[in-house]
Amino acid sequence: MKDERIKLGVSLYSYQDEFFRRDMTLKDCIEAVSDMGASGIEILPEEMIRDCFHLTDAFVDDWFSWMEEYHTVPVAVDGFCDEKGLWKKAGHVPSLEEAVAVQKRYVDVAARLGCKYVRTQIRDMDLLRAMIPYAEDKNVILALEIHAPGHVRDQINMDWLNVREQTGTRYLGFIPDFGIYEHKATPIIMRQCIRDGATAEIWEEAEEKKAMGWGWDEMKAYFEPRCRTSGDMDAVWRVYNVQPDDPKDLLEIMPYVVGFHGKFWNMLEDLTEESVDYAPVLKVIHDAGFRGYINSEYEGGRHMQDTGEVRGVEQVRRHHAMMRNILEKL
């Protein structure tokens, strides 16, 4: 089957509303992935596993029994960069050892849960170098997310590639996030800006000026005197910040891509995403022979929790239906 070349999974982050409302347990979330015929499981341990940095044998047994029961595969753990925040207010600058200790926890969780890679937010090259031997020892790849408003060719990604080359390690990779291909500011977030006080006219005008190719300095000079509410400038900034990447740039890093975040905000009833055009990107990565996982990452819910019940499971189902539609034709 053609669509078996690219594998589909879900970052359980997508089900955060159901999980937080206690409509679904972690096991229910895994079942929801399996129910679509998908297999990849990506998890934020700090969201869905109690005392996640001290995993019990009983939990790990449950985890693997769920994988077996639902024919799913542990793929990724999402880590953060808390070393930047843990001691900030106390005025303490963490030593390299302290930062390494914070980051090792994610590698440990990934190793115990059988995940192949950690989504990491490490942007300090000394910390990154210090983490490599540990990642190698635990057989877990450290992967940097390429997230909007960033782009594939950003310096930080080149820095990572340099470290990879200099050290000769195979344990550094990338996770491009489909949010970098957003072609307009998602209406889900813009409507939230409006509920927070921005005006619809400013939003529309910002889209017009950006389409005319205005730079940020021009945008700022024009809109600042025209903004009537505190939310207006935020809306202008959000519109301007959507600068879609060229999918072909992926070819430069494709050998090091360990997986994708299938970021989306709003799946429409015609099975298209409101602000990201998936087809051209899927074609590029399909043609390049990518065989890893695209894990859906639904983020629209976070921006509409004040308007009604968020349906993460349904949104992800539509997202998978869309990706299958596109992949089956490639």
Partner: protein, 133 residues
């Protein structure tokens, strides 16, 4: 930004608190308005408004177990205390005499220093909650 329609501010646990027979303030119970558990030192603080009355940050204290309270100004001193996602913490607010029995408009804004963002993020929730005692 507004967050989580229902579950951050809890109906249960909204009550007056007394010390040595005198009502010294009131209590709220809250969950983390974010998508994961965090160390307390990542929290910046809480802004609490009841019926339009704003309470000063120094009048708000925080507890995970309802017994040991820390000043919200001291969050930075506790990187070792982890607040698990979904657990209900206690906020105590100094307010001599407490709040009257009945319905109150409560707005709680949680400020958090998300480590990958350059600014403090404020999530708020507004609810009408009832004081029974």
């Amino acid at each position: 930004m507004p967050e989580f329609g229902n579950s951050v501010l809890c109906e249960q646990g909204f009550r007056n608190v007394s010390e040595e027979g005198r009502t010294t303030g009131f209590q709220l119970r809250v969950r983390i308005s974010y998508y994961r558990g965090i160390a307390l030192s990542i929290l910046d603080g809480y802004d609490i408004v009841v019926d339009g009355r704003k309470f000063a940050p120094e009048d708000v204290s925080f507890s995970l177990d309802g017994k040991t309270f820390i000043d919200t100004a001291d969050f930075g001193k506790h990187p070792e205390i982890r607040w698990e996602y979904g657990d209900k913490a206690y906020l105590h607010v100094k307010c001599p005499g407490g709040l009257e029995r009945g319905i109150h408009d409560v707005k709680v804004t949680q400020r958090i220093a998300v480590p990958y963002l350059p600014f403090s993020t404020a999530f708020y929730q507004e609810k009408r909650l009832t004081i029974v005692q």
